[in-house]
């Protein structure tokens, strides 16, 4: 993957870390020129950095709400400005329409960000190709192991066995080297399927099938911490947790949000950790720039876990070369105080009634980890 090689276009495209931008078009302030002060002040008072129009979200599903942004422009805006949300039919950035138009060979002039779409397509193609190659390699390896088994069954000598092993190893090595030489471009175009016919509307354009989905905590952040989406925070919380609540029903959401807000406000790009079996993963800047460095598991300070639980999660995150962080969220006031504030819709009081502390958990092997 071409992560890390951040080029000029992506620097420009992902210029802002959040959907709200600083005011950066103020006139020059010249200290010895009072007129420039007036200009500056006037411009300063007049400008604002609110969004012209709040981003519209739909909330579907009753017991398990799905928070969706459906407008194509707004989907891209949220992705470009802080990497919020996930395309429901994509790995993360909502690229389904561009991918599909390329797969079906349809030119669609309504598609924005054509260039970046293409590079993204290449990325997803590359992953697919790599998976395919790994499968083929395993199939090849299987074959050679069957030969070995056959030899043993016939009662071959150890020398014969070793000769066969050596030969097979060499063959596999060669196979792998040949695989690496093949480039993505050599691939034959995909065949069209019957199902693809339903994807094209009467104007010959790809239909809009994909929405951008926001995690509940992302939606809370974009409503409570930043004025970005068009649903007020009391309404959103009621939609997520229901009208009358008990502490148990809101505890998990509050602690997850407190952790999310904590990392966002320290400048991290926080995304879901579902693929690594944890709550969040942290990117220094965002997915196009580098791999996530940290896996975060949000913990209740009071609840003990058995040792196998820790080692299970740590082995998965360690396997993905990420640092495993236990993020303890501790409630500082009584449950009743939280519920009272909930009834008053005083979410600032609620969120600031929790303390966050982190511990890094690392598997240590005496023979290997010498430094």
């Amino acid at each position: 993957m071409s992560k890390g090689k951040s080029n000029y276009t992506s620097q420009l495209r992902y210029k802002f870390p959040l959907p709200i931008h600083p005011i950066d078009d103020l006139p020059l302030l010249i200290l010895h020129n009072p007129v420039s002060w007036i200009c500056y002040l006037y411009k300063y008072m007049k400008s604002h950095n609110r969004l012209q129009k709040r981003i519209h979200v739909e909330i579907n599903g009753d017991s398990f709400p799905h928070i969706l942004v459906e407008d194509q422009g707004q989907m891209i805006y949220l992705w470009d400005n802080g990497f919020f949300g996930t395309g429901q039919l994509s790995r993360s950035e909502p690229t389904w329409r561009s991918r599909t138009s390329i797969r079906l060979g349809i030119n669609d002039d309504t598609l924005q960000n054509e260039q970046s779409a293409k590079s993204q397509v290449a990325l997803e193609k590359l992953t697919e190709r790599r998976r395919q190659q790994r499968l083929e390699f395993k199939r090849e390896r299987d074959k050679s192991e069957k030969q070995l088994l056959e030899l043993r069954r016939k009662g071959g000598s150890i020398e014969e066995e070793e000769a066969l092993l050596e030969k097979e190893r060499e063959a596999l090595r060669e196979y792998k080297a040949n695989q690496l030489l093949k480039s993505v471009d050599e691939e034959e175009p995909n065949e069209l399927r019957m199902e693809d016919e339903n994807l094209i509307d009467e104007n010959g354009r790809i239909i809009k099938l994909e929405s951008l989905q926001l995690m509940p905590v992302e939606a809370i952040f974009l409503s409570y911490a930043l004025p970005v989406i068009d649903i007020p925070i009391p309404e959103l919380m009621e939609r997520l947790c229901g009208g009358t609540v008990e502490y148990e029903t809101i505890h998990k959401l509050i602690t997850r949000y407190v952790a999310y807000h904590h990392y966002r406000s320290h400048g991290w790009c926080v995304r879901s950790g579902i693929k690594f079996g944890c709550d969040y993963i942290l990117y220094k800047r965002g997915p196009p720039f580098q791999h996530a460095e940290f896996c975060i598991m949000v913990m209740d300070a009071e609840v003990p876990r058995d040792y196998t639980w820790y080692s299970t999660v740590a082995r998965v995150t360690g396997g993905a070369r990420k640092t495993f962080v236990l993020c303890y969220v501790q409630r500082l006031v009584s449950q009743d105080k939280i519920l009272e504030a909930w009834d008053r819709k005083d979410f600032t009081t609620i969120f600031s009634s929790y303390k966050v502390a982190e511990v890094i958990y690392k598997r240590w092997v005496p023979g290997k980890n010498r430094d």
């Binding site: 579907n60 599903g61 017991s63 398990f64 709400p65 799905h66 928070i67 949300g85 996930t86 395309g87 429901q88 039919l89 994509s90 389904w96 599909t100 395919q132 499968l135 395993k138 199939r139 299987d142 399927r193 019957m194 199902e195 994807l199 099938l209 951008l212 989905q213 926001l214 995690m215 509940p216 905590v217 997520l240 998990k252 959401l253 997850r256 995304r271 879901s272 579902i274 693929k275 709550d279």
Partner: protein
């Protein structure tokens, strides 16, 4: 009589994901269902675009890939939906033909991703890596 909660939206999401992201074909939501904790549990059926695992000798009589049986499940950051062994047993018994040895669990998370896992009927030899 209890009114069972339908899961159309979830089923539709998984169907679209399989058809238009994973590029499966012939994806259908089954009509039959079993009641489970106030919900109507339905399976989806479909054919993958390629073999799902190298260990599979899962070829049909005509040499094409076998139909897979998919169970959609909700997952959330702050709520849980339980699928128990008892529930899986019932599904194997009532919603699948006798020869079906495994289900594909389609776990729809509330962050917009869908992840897939196998659930086998009984004991299964571990997958080779």
């Amino acid at each position: 009589m209890e009114v069972l909660h339908k899961r159309h939206e979830l089923e539709e999401l998984v169907k679209n994901n399989l058809l238009h992201f994973q590029l499966w074909s012939n994806v259908q939501v089954q009509n039959e269902y079993i009641p489970w904790k106030g919900m109507e549990l339905r399976l989806l059926t479909g054919k993958p675009s390629q073999k799902l695992s190298n260990d599979d000798e899962n070829l049909g009589t005509d040499g094409t890939l076998m139909t897979e049986y998919i169970l959609p499940i909700n997952m959330s950051q702050y709520k849980t939906e339980f699928i128990t062994i008892q529930c899986l047993d019932m599904i194997f018994e009532k919603l699948c033909p006798e020869y079906v040895k495994r289900l594909v669990l389609a776990i729809v998370s509330d962050d917009g991703t869908t992840v897939f896992y196998f659930a086998y009927k009984g004991i299964h030899k571990p997958k080779r890596n």
